[in-house]
């Protein structure tokens, strides 16, 4: 794959959500480059992930810790385990820069997380910054902007 087609990019974003819904977390993590970040801002239109608070700003090490933790026998907040469900609009390709090897998509979505008898609904926009490494698409940055980013939430335990 020298430069991905629009369809390949869209399929990739949809596939990422499916891996999460099916708890295929290791395959999911493999979609990220080694220097990738997963960012969930706390403020509307936030531009600085470091000096301003964020809900999440995780490098691959932190993401890996989360994935390992979900498997742990003493991870009490996951007894019983949470489940999640994504409903995506068709990802829109905001920019494709073959020379720079960078593709940016915009995906409005609803995300549901459940545990015990509780079911929480979140609405968000996912922005994926993708790149091709060794012939396959990878995520450099996934940014998830919640519509109500500064609201008071209970536990959000999985990945949007």
């Amino acid at each position: 794959m020298t430069s991905p087609t629009d369809k390949e990019i869209i399929d990739f974003v949809i596939h990422e959500a499916r891996l999460l819904d099916q708890h295929r977390f290791e395959e999911w993590l493999a979609l990220y480059t080694d220097d990738a970040y997963y960012w969930m801002p706390l403020e509307w239109g936030q531009t600085d992930p470091k000096l301003v608070g964020s809900l999440m700003y995780e490098d691959k090490l932190l993401l890996q810790i989360r994935v390992e933790r979900l498997k742990g026998n003493r991870t009490f907040s996951q007894k019983p385990k949470s489940r999640c469900h994504h409903v995506l609009q068709t990802p829109q390709i905001d920019s494709r820069d073959d020379a720079k090897n960078e593709y940016v998509t915009w995906t409005p979505m609803h995300y549901v997380e459940t545990r015990h008898d509780d079911q929480q609904l979140y609405a968000a926009w996912a922005t994926h910054t993708l790149t091709v490494v060794g012939g396959v698409l990878k995520i450099k940055l996934k940014r998830v902007d919640l519509v109500n980013c500064e609201a008071a939430f209970g536990n959000i335990q999985l990945f949007m």
Partner: protein
């Protein structure tokens, strides 16, 4: 039937020297009495004055369940007003913070008030002539919270005339604020952006107690901090230890580490962990920071300020601060089984940005609704909130390292795994609950 209202004895009996009755956590009437007495008789944290830098700036929060506004008045002083129109009760501001200009204007009938709350104007004022409005409560304008104190930028308020003055209430415990503020080379803090807001289905006091519970990290946080340490073990040798691992790893320290760190109790329910060292002691030095501190304070004082590594300081009833990383957590009661936790971060004015970067990282790794460490703790509180409904045992035990001769309302230092600070809080709870009954 009321069991606790107008029954001082019954309220007092909820707290024994080393046990607390479950009604303190689950009973609606006790919760209501906490709002009326405990939160009115104590100095409650409102906000930091950097949130209202200019005249007319306001910031909305609560004392117990009552909405209040912190506002910068035209004379630069900070006022705290009940957020209620004196006319029909309408909440004056719709946004949490903003600037109101020279006066507040009620959106319902346009009564307006100066930023100290006093009545400025009423449309068609003639209609109130000879009605005695001046003598009515409404005619006085927005009611100010009577007692307000600004301590080096941190604003506290007390609703009742009962209880103690600010200095007497906090006493020596203010040293934890001093240390957090002195960590800025110019002795100044600024709130850095929005707080993380985390909704907990449990009683607010469970969170306060947990701040000095040093027997739980290595157990409850094995899943988060323990996993972090294990994942890090697989890093290629020679890799620089990431800031995140520096933050996680000390949570997994053995009991001995926490025993030796020490706990200090102060009168009126205040106290702190980390007398000798803490989970914040071994963070990497930030280039250029110590030099700035030496230039500002001289070497000896700079070393003294940075050598103090208090872990969690509890300001009774519902505030916790972490001086070494400049963040505070406020435990806002909403119902017996519902608490809003707000975690605010601060910038040390004139210090390197990396310090703030670490503060923000700590806050998101430990205190966010999306944080794994937070998930560990909340799971325990919610299980406790359910478990307390077991009738077979109606008492919560806080007996660890209890000595029947233990004095109350004193300053003392002791073993870091004691539950003395929790007992200290419940003694204060009992005192300030019944003071105005």
């Amino acid at each position: 039937m009321a069991r606790y209202r107008d029954n001082v004895e019954a309220v007092r009996n909820l707290v024994r020297p080393a046990e607390v009755h479950r009604d303190v956590y689950i009973d609606d009437e006790v919760f209501q009495l906490e709002m009326e007495h405990l939160f009115a008789n104590t100095w409650v944290y409102i906000g930091h004055d950097s949130q209202v830098p200019n005249p007319g700036d306001y910031f909305g929060t609560t004392i117990g369940l009552q909405p209040v506004l912190m506002v910068r008045h035209t004379d630069q002083s900070v006022k705290v007003l009940f957020n209620r129109c004196p006319h029909k009760g309408t909440r004056i501001t719709t946004e949490t913070c903003g600037n109101t200009g020279k006066f507040f204007r009620c959106p319902y009938h346009a009564w307006s008030f100066k930023t100290d709350g006093s009545l400025l104007a009423i449309p068609l004022k003639k209609g109130y002539e000879n009605t005695g409005l001046e003598q009515s409560h409404a005619g006085q304008g927005m009611t100010p919270v009577r007692h307000v104190h600004n301590y080096r930028g941190f604003v506290f308020a007390k609703i009742n005339d009962f209880g103690q003055g600010f200095e007497e209430f906090f006493g020596e415990s203010l040293s934890s604020f001093d240390n957090m503020i002195d960590r800025s080379p110019v002795g100044k803090l600024e709130v850095a952006g929005l707080p993380l807001r985390y909704m907990h289905n449990c009683n607010w006091k469970m969170l306060v107690e947990n701040q000095t519970d040093t027997c739980h990290p290595m157990v409850a946080h094995e899943s988060s901090a323990g996993t972090a340490v294990n994942v890090w073990k697989n890093a290629p040798p020679g890799t620089r230890k990431p800031m995140a691992v520096e933050i996680f790893a000390p949570f997994m320290s053995p009991y001995e580490f926490f025993e030796n760190m020490g706990i200090r109790v102060w009168p009126n329910g205040h106290g702190h962990t980390g007398v000798h060292h803490s989970i914040h002691s071994d963070y990497s030095a930030i280039p250029g920071y110590f030099e700035k501190m030496v230039a500002a304070y001289g070497e000896e004082r700079a070393k003294h300020i940075l050598g103090e590594n208090r872990h969690n300081t509890v300001y009774f009833p519902n505030l916790m601060i972490k001086g070494p990383i400049q963040l505070i957590r406020l435990f806002k009661p909403l119902a017996p089984n519902k608490t809003l936790v707000e975690s605010y971060t601060f910038r040390l004015v004139d210090a390197p940005d990396v310090l703030l970067e670490r503060t923000q990282m700590y806050n998101r790794l430990i205190n966010a609704p999306t944080s794994v460490v937070g998930h560990d703790d909340l799971e325990m509180y919610e299980r406790a909130q359910e478990g307390l409904h077991v009738d077979a045992n109606q008492w919560v035990n806080v007996q660890r390292l209890y000595d029947p001769a233990e004095p109350v309302d004193v300053t003392a230092e002791t073993n870091g795994t004691t539950e003395w600070q929790m007992r200290n809080q419940f003694h204060a709870w009992q005192k300030f609950m019944t003071m105005s009954m």
